[in-house]
């Protein structure tokens, strides 16, 4: 075959190709937008609030409202979705609640990014949700896109730790702020206890009856003076809520407002600085509270209570091991500390004592100053101290404290000189051996003079009789 033959052969097949080309062009014309369209931009990104000029914002707002109206057209009606757990999730959003909320002008898809206008789940593309709780936890991430700082603070909180541990009760964003009726900060007032009261009702009632709560409710007035009485978040923070921990976190909150406390106490209280260190404010300022004597581990180098840091993990595990039936012997803890200080523990740790109130409810029953306990007997009188709970506390990974009961007699033992050498309440905990020595000294102090005098009289009489 020559070259010319091959060319002519090709030209000879052009007639059947033409109709195919025409059909292809018609097909392209019809389905042009589907074949050559750009990828769909994320509707959330399209509608997200950006830093624009007022004019741009106006346009943005208008677009958001228009988009939201589309959503609410269906979702303002009662709709139920059955979840994998068998729970029912209402998909209804009350229009008025949402539009009047702090998020009323934000597009629905800003939070519900996975449900864009072109990706809305249908019966065929159903989104599966395992449970209401899981969905709430998952939606926490949506909040971060705008509230990054608050989200970071929340992730350092005891609430977040508990969520991570699988707690069903620990709050996520929507538990406090609600999902769609998001309120502004002005709503969080002590009169209602919202939102803390929802989980901490007993504590809120105690607070509401306290000097702080009553002052706040009565318009921040105490003894005819205007004061800014604290609400929950003033002491516990709103997002970085920490566990009720050992240490001076909460005390420093008290000092934040009552800055002259050290000076006022030093004017009448012996060893005021030490008292403020080891006696929690509520012990004296919640006059009806019952007390607890707590022994905790203290890092003498860092000068902070042992916490949930990585370096203490092994030690904490060892502490768990010496627990017997919910009880821990302080002497055993001390022995463990001694051994650990020599070997594995990268710190110099000791066991320190702290006087606390027994429950969070009592901790919030702070009374007016005139009702504060000013007698020392509750701590410095051995008889009263017998009524105390004595615990050894170990910080957990999430910052919460695990408390073990211990034998209160340990505080009076000779071994306490070693195990709790850093703590001593005069008159409160007494070394029994010293009590015996005191009695012995008293007996010697009487017996020697009386014995010497009596012996002298006897010898004199004997000598007198001999002379006669």
């Amino acid at each position: 075959m020559t070259a010319s033959t091959r060319v002519s052969g090709a030209m000879g097949n052009t007639r059947p190709v033409l109709p195919s080309l025409i059909i292809f062009l018609i097909f392209c014309a019809i389905f042009n937008d589907r074949l050559y369209a750009q990828p769909v931009a994320d509707p959330a990104a399209e509608l997200a609030i950006t830093k624009n000029t007022p004019a741009d914002l106006g346009t943005q707002l208008e677009a958001n409202l228009k988009q939201n109206n589309k959503c609410l057209k269906c979702h303002s009606r009662e709709k139920i979705k059955t979840l994998e757990s068998g729970e029912e999730l209402s998909l209804q959003v009350h229009r008025d609640d949402f539009t009047s909320s702090a998020h009323g002008e934000i597009a629905c898809v800003s939070c519900h990014e996975a449900i864009g206008s072109r990706r809305h789940p249908s019966k065929k593309t159903n989104i599966t949700i395992s449970s209401r709780r899981d969905y709430s936890v998952e939606m926490n991430q949506s909040c971060r896109s705008c509230h990054d700082k608050k989200s970071t603070q929340y992730e350092g909180s005891i609430h977040f730790s508990m969520v991570g541990q699988g707690s069903e009760k620990a709050p996520v964003c929507t538990d406090c702020h609600s999902a769609h009726a998001v309120e502004t900060m002005t709503v969080y007032q002590p009169e209602t206890g919202f939102p803390c009261k929802k989980c901490h009702e007993n504590i809120f009632i105690a607070y509401a009856e306290s000097v702080h709560g009553t002052a706040r409710i009565s318009g921040n007035v105490i003894r005819d003076k205007h004061i800014q009485a604290p609400i929950c978040s003033d002491c516990h923070r709103s997002h970085e809520v920490t566990a009720v921990e050992i240490g001076d976190t909460l005390r420093s909150q008290c000092f934040g407002c009552h800055e002259n406390v050290p000076l006022l106490h030093s004017q009448w209280l012996p060893n005021a600085g030490t008292h403020l260190d080891i006696v929690s404010c509520a012990v004296c300022h919640a006059p009806f509270a019952k007390h607890r004597f707590d022994l905790h581990l203290y890092d003498n180098i860092a000068q902070v209570p042992v916490n949930q840091q990585e370096s203490y993990k092994l030690f904490q595990q060892q502490l768990q091991d010496i627990e017997v039936g919910g009880n821990v012997d302080p002497l055993a803890v001390w022995k463990l500390i001694e051994e650990s200080n020599e070997t594995s523990l990268p710190a110099n740790i000791s066991l320190r004592g702290r006087m606390e109130v027994r429950s969070g409810v009592w901790a919030h029953q702070i009374a007016s100053k005139s009702f504060a306990v000013r007698t020392c007997d509750s701590c410095h009188q051995a008889g009263n101290r017998q009524a105390l709970d004595v615990t050894v506390s170990v910080p957990q990974q999430d910052g919460r404290i695990q408390r073990f009961e211990t034998d209160r007699e340990e505080l009076d033992s000779v071994g306490a000189m070693k195990s709790i050498s850093e703590f001593f309440a005069i008159g409160g905990n007494k070394n029994r051996l010293l009590d015996i020595l005191v009695l012995l000294s008293l007996i010697i102090g009487v017996a020697i003079p009386v014995g010497h005098f009596t012996l002298g009289q006897m010898i004199k009489e004997k000598l007198d009789r001999g002379e006669q």
């Binding site: 012996p270 060893n271 600085g273 030490t274 260190d277 003498n300 000791s350 000013r374 007698t375 020392c376 007997d377 410095h380 009188q381 051995a382 008889g383 009263n384 306490a416 000189m417 709790i420 050498s421 850093e422 703590f423 001593f424 005069i426 008159g427 007494k430 070394n431 010293l434 020595l437 005191v438 012995l440 000294s441 008293l442 010697i444 102090g445 009487v446 020697i448 003079p449 010497h452 005098f453 012996l455 002298g456 010898i459 004199k460 000598l463």
Partner: protein, 225 residues
Amino acid sequence: MATKNPEQVQLKSWKKTSDGELYINPLPVRIWHWLHAMGFVVLILTGIQIRYTNLFNVLTFETAVKTHNWVAFAVIANYFIWLGFYLFSDRITVYHPELNPRKFFDKAFEQARYYSYGIFKGERSPHKVQPYDKFNPMQSITYQIVMLLVVPVQFITGIMMWDIKRFESWIAMFGGIQVIDTVHVLVFIFFLSFTMIHAYMGALGQKPSTHFKEMFTGFEEEYEE
């Protein structure tokens, strides 16, 4: 301070009344002694009240602590009257009339024999009280241990407990507040019996009132031969 020859000091500054009394206790010593005695009694009583609030309720804990603290500082200040007087006067010889250990222990043994036996037979004390040789060897050694060791230990531990926060590092150095308190209480235990025995032995002079009178007036009657 150099020790003086007893013969030299005897010639130097003896005061003798017409009744033959010797001037044994100068005014600073008497002031110190009685302030110290009163202070110690108050410290012992308030100390008992502080430690045994469940047994006695004469004072509130707060009053007992504050009284204890104030009196303790007065006693500390008073201690320096004693220290200053003996450091800056020639009367320090009452503690060391001569530095002869052999002689000292012989005399101490003799004195112990007197207290345990001779006194009952009406013997004279082997030690003759002189202005510059006031103490018998038993008194001398006991008072030096008490005043130079035991009392300062009590002061130091007490001061540490008076302001725990200020002396935090010192307290930690000595093993913690429990150790400091235990030492303070042990010294208190010692003083409890010491004070009672000391008062009793004060009545073992030529007459029961002899030494008490001496501590008030400064003069001691010479032995009736």
